[in-house]
């Protein structure tokens, strides 16, 4: 049946416009708008003594200059702390423009509005800011010493401290279990900073018509930007609309909101009565948005002769940068998702999140999981090495078994709900990945190594998403959902769901995301949640519409709704193809009219004889129109899983690391569109390889980010990325109607762990830091021979 599209590799509906230059990204809008630019702090830590704008006043095209003192009280307030947590005892956020102290290079200090960006930057260059430099805090170790403070009122630079402990049998804690274990190991791991780095940076464009404000933002959450902007500007919510146009990648960074610019640009547009646009440049993105990943982990583990983990004790130092707008989601995710597919006898995890004078840390694809998986997988490899066992054997000894689902890990997850895995089959997945990479047949030799990494990813977090589905009298199906898209192909995947549920050709279905004019209630696109939460909401909304369509059609066909089916957009009596009515006509009948505008709609007017005169045209409890709205609010997260393996070759002279093969087996429940899922995995793996071998944020002792350009921050090109071989395992989620789990972040999560495992295998040197560069491997070799 042609309308059975769920699960098919349907080509993307987004592509024709994106391939012809007809996409509408943020900077493609507002051609007549004024441009904003910002004077940003050149110091990592300094007090702003004075700002002298005199030199900029004669710049041709200058319209306005604003400092913090120019902002109304409500606009100049500290930005919201988006996700409060009791353990975040000292949460701190920035002001839209620096009030008195700047805490990282790149913090905005002055906003300039001018005729175009060239003029705005000319003016920025002529504004003199007098800074009193303060000693910066750079790096986790300097932060924990607490000798210098990032925030005067945050002692020891500690923003948050959280301990979670899962006791073993007999209530024994992890530390006690480790003491009495047959074998113990202790080690330290280091993970560098990286960043989402979408190729389109952030951007905001605002229009004010004297009553209503329209804001376009390159964001991962338009509904929440809307609420934050309305609150900051003191506007009634219905007078603010926010639209995410085509967005050139997000990968986490664009979930943060409201950015200073998302408050300032709309405010200036209202103040000046002019359209204003700000488009972030690449250096701004490096020094003014957000980074992730940086952690130091201290691990102690106790285990038995089979490699079974009896106790695991992990202490994490998490670098939060200068501010904590997104709360402590990243270290919470690290702490909980560290467990992966395993069930240690007991587990204790403690993290301390510290402030440094660097760019703030908020989720980047994987959102703390790559660090947790690195920790657990390094632990598994070290146990295997210590016991002289095969690395996959030790993992298998620790797996949760398929008959143990739902499996309660006994912790609290990032959504505040219990960490209970819904479904999975880890032994089968291990068998598949070993077969795909040829684990058992692999012949090890110096300079050639094989590695493995396993993960479980909580996806599809709540609280909810919604879907609205409307069938109009032309037979078209209009689907909308509030969350946004940044390349995941939602217009296609959601259309596949709607076409399948409603029995209509996909060509008739159109999907709108991220536009608060179409759907006002939503959370956003992050945590591999869009397909799970919006996908199910849209399916439920479609089912409501389908039920209504069958009810109306049954009336018109004088049939029982139970005997009706919909195919190719036509409702028909099963087994009697001649008794049929197209959905377009059903849509007409669903909306009793006084006024017709074509032949079809004339059928719904008052003298057409289609309505019973003894009943109200719209029956009690009914609404006009063939449309429906529903929400999906998951009880808790679903848990996708995956295992990756790689074969690497290391150069004996240059220590260059080359990935010869890379294999992925993953389970994201039922697949909506396998082509899109594979694309997500390929992209995630490439970002993971960037994080494993190339990408790092290099701060000097003064807090200057010395590699803030694409020349020096090494994102992989095609030349660095191997062919990725993939295998799929489907264990449907029992938690949602469609049985799906999320896939967006999957690819990136275990890559550092896999590469470390493989390099260690090739070299016989313990790999405890990521990323690893040729020069670092060279140094490790030298240290070994010394």
């Amino acid at each position: 049946m042609t309308t059975r599209l769920f699960g098919e590799a349907v080509q993307r509906r987004e592509d024709p416009r994106l391939l012809t230059g007809q996409g509408r990204y943020l900077d493609d809008l507002g051609r007549e708008a004024l441009a904003a630019a910002f004077v940003r702090s050149p110091h990592a830590h300094a007090r702003v003594r004075d700002i002298d704008v005199a030199g900029a006043l004669d710049v041709p095209g200058l319209v306005a200059i604003y400092t913090w003192e120019d902002l109304p009280e409500r606009v100049g307030r500290a930005l919201p702390l988006l996700i409060p947590h009791p353990a975040l005892t000292h949460g701190r956020t920035a002001h839209p423009l620096a009030r008195d102290v700047v805490r990282h290079v790149g913090e905005p200090v002055v906003m300039v509005v001018a005729a175009d960006r060239y003029a705005a930057e000319d003016a920025c260059a002529l504004i003199e800011v007098d800074y009193e430099p303060l000693k910066p805090v750079v790096g986790i170790e300097e932060a924990v010493q607490g000798a210098q403070l990032v925030h005067e009122d945050v002692p020891g630079n500690v923003g948050a401290h959280l301990v979670q402990e899962v006791a073993g049998t007999g209530g024994r804690g992890a530390r006690e279990a480790i003491e009495t274990s047959p074998h113990t190991l202790a080690f330290r791991l280091d993970i560098e900073r990286s960043a989402s780095m979408p190729l389109e940076g952030r951007g905001v464009y605002a229009r004010w018509d004297g009553r209503d404000l329209r804001v376009y933002s390159s964001t991962q959450t338009s509904t929440s930007v809307r609420m934050a902007v309305a609150a900051a500007l003191g506007l009634p919510l219905p007078q603010v609309e926010v639209i995410a146009p085509d967005v050139g990648g997000g990968f986490g960074v664009k979930i943060v909101h409201p950015w200073p610019e998302e408050v300032l640009v709309p405010w200036a547009a209202m103040t000046l009565g002019r359209e204003i646009k700000w488009t972030e440049d690449r250096r701004e993105h490096f020094i003014s948005s957000a980074h992730e990943r940086g952690q130091v982990q201290y691990v102690r583990v106790g285990f038995d002769d089979d490699g079974r983990v009896l106790g695991l004790d992990v202490t994490i130092l998490h670098d939060h940068g200068a501010y904590t707008p997104y709360g402590i989601i990243v270290p919470i995710v690290t702490s909980t998702q560290l467990l992966g597919p395993y069930k240690p006898g007991s587990y204790r995890v403690e993290f301390t999140a510290v402030y440094t004078n660097t760019v703030q840390v908020t989720p980047y694809r994987g959102a703390g999981r790559p660090q947790g998986v690195f920790c657990m997988e390094r632990t598994m490899d070290k146990i295997a090495r210590y016991l002289g066992k095969d690395r996959t054997e030790v993992r298998a000894a620790n797996f949760i078994r398929p008959d143990e689902f739902p499996y309660d890990q006994g912790m609290t997850f990032q959504d505040g709900r219990p960490l209970i895995y819904d479904s999975g089959d880890y032994p089968e997945m291990l068998r598949m990945i070993k077969e795909l990479i040829g684990w058992d047949a692999f012949e090890r030799r110096p300079g050639l190594g094989i590695g493995i990494g396993c993960y479980v990813e909580g996806t599809g977090v709540g609280p909810y998403e919604g879907g609205h589905v409307q069938i109009t009298s032309d037979g078209r199906v209009h689907v909308s959902t509030g969350l946004t898209s940044q390349g995941q192909g939602h217009e296609t995947a959601f259309a596949q769901i709607a076409a399948t549920e409603l029995g209509v050709p996909i060509e008739r279905v159109s999907v709108v995301t991220g536009d608060t004019r179409r759907f006002g209630y939503a959370v956003g696109t992050f945590a591999s949640r869009a397909a799970v939460v919006s996908g199910n909401a849209i399916a439920l909304a479609c089912r409501k519409v389908r039920e209504k369509a069958l009810r109306i059609a049954a009336d018109a066909l004088e049939a029982n709704p139970d005997d009706l089916d919909i195919a190719e957009g036509i409702v028909h009596v099963a087994g009697t193809p001649s008794a049929a009515i197209p959905l377009s006509t059903v849509a007409v009948l669903a909306n009793p009219l006084r006024y017709a505008f074509d032949e079809e709609t004339a059928k719904a007017t008052q003298f057409a004889g289609s309505a019973a005169p003894d009943r109200p045209p719209v029956a009690e409890g009914e609404e006009p129109g063939l449309e429906g709205r529903d929400y999906y609010s998951p009880i808790r997260s679903t848990f996708a899983a995956g295992m990756h393996a790689a074969i690497v070759e290391t150069d004996p002279d240059t220590a260059e690391i080359r990935i010869l093969r890379y294999a992925v087996v993953h389970d994201c429940g039922r697949l909506i569109n396998p082509m899109i899922v594979e694309g997500q995995i390929h992209g995630g793996v490439a970002q993971g390889i960037g994080g494993a071998l190339y990408e790092r944020m290099v701060y000097d002792q003064h807090g200057q980010l010395v590699n803030a350009s694409f020349m020096d921050f090494l994102m992989p090109y095609a030349t660095e990325i191997p062919h990725v071989e993939t295998g799929h395992l489907e264990t449907p989620s029992p938690l949602n109607p469609l049985g799906i789990k999320g896939a967006g972040e999957a690819g990136v999560i275990p890559v550092s762990a896999v590469i470390a495992s493989a390099v260690e295998d090739a070299e016989g040197i313990e790999i405890n830091r990521m990323p690893i560069s040729p020069s670092e491997l060279f140094d490790l070799r030298a240290a070994r021979t010394d």
Partner: protein
């Protein structure tokens, strides 16, 4: 000081007044309204802004508009046929899922169009090398490489 220049963009002569420092990318996007050419780094590394200058791929963010006065420029908007039908390269990218967010795509399309003109049957290594000046953060390149080979096939079928 402004300069009046003529750019033959996608076959149409366009006269435009620009200051000497106006980047070709900004001129195309903001003066001529051809926003299909994207700007990802403004320092010539990412390749998003790649356009064809007299048939050869160049970084429009590293090119001053005044320096290409009189030249022929092809942007992503000019790759499809006069009837609006997608080019072989465009069709191959759709077929092979060679794009996700689409931001780097115009640069890749221009680069690959020139690559296949010069080398209609590239090897794997030649494809990798040929696209190694363009960054993509979404796809991991695998489907882009596949799309280049597919485009070569489609072009061979067409000729």
């Amino acid at each position: 000081m402004e300069h009046e220049i003529t750019l033959v963009v996608n076959g149409t002569a366009r006269r435009v007044r620009v200051p000497a420092r106006r980047l070709l990318s900004d001129c195309l996007r903001h003066d001529l309204g051809l926003t299909g050419t994207h700007v990802g780094c403004e320092h010539g590394v990412c390749g998003c802004c790649t356009v064809l200058l007299d048939g050869r791929p160049v970084r429009s963010c590293l090119t001053f508009a005044v320096t290409v006065d009189g030249a022929g420029i092809t942007t992503v908007e000019g790759l499809a046929g006069p009837d609006g039908g997608l080019s072989a390269v465009q069709r191959a990218f759709a077929e092979c899922h060679g794009l996700q967010c689409g931001f780097c795509t115009p640069g890749f399309l221009c680069t690959v169009t020139a690559l296949l003109r010069e080398n209609p049957v590239p090897t794997d290594d030649e494809v990798t090398e040929g696209i190694s000046g363009n960054l993509c953060r979404c796809t991991g390149y695998q489907n882009i490489v596949k799309a280049v080979h597919r485009a070569a096939e489609l072009l061979a079928e067409e000729s």
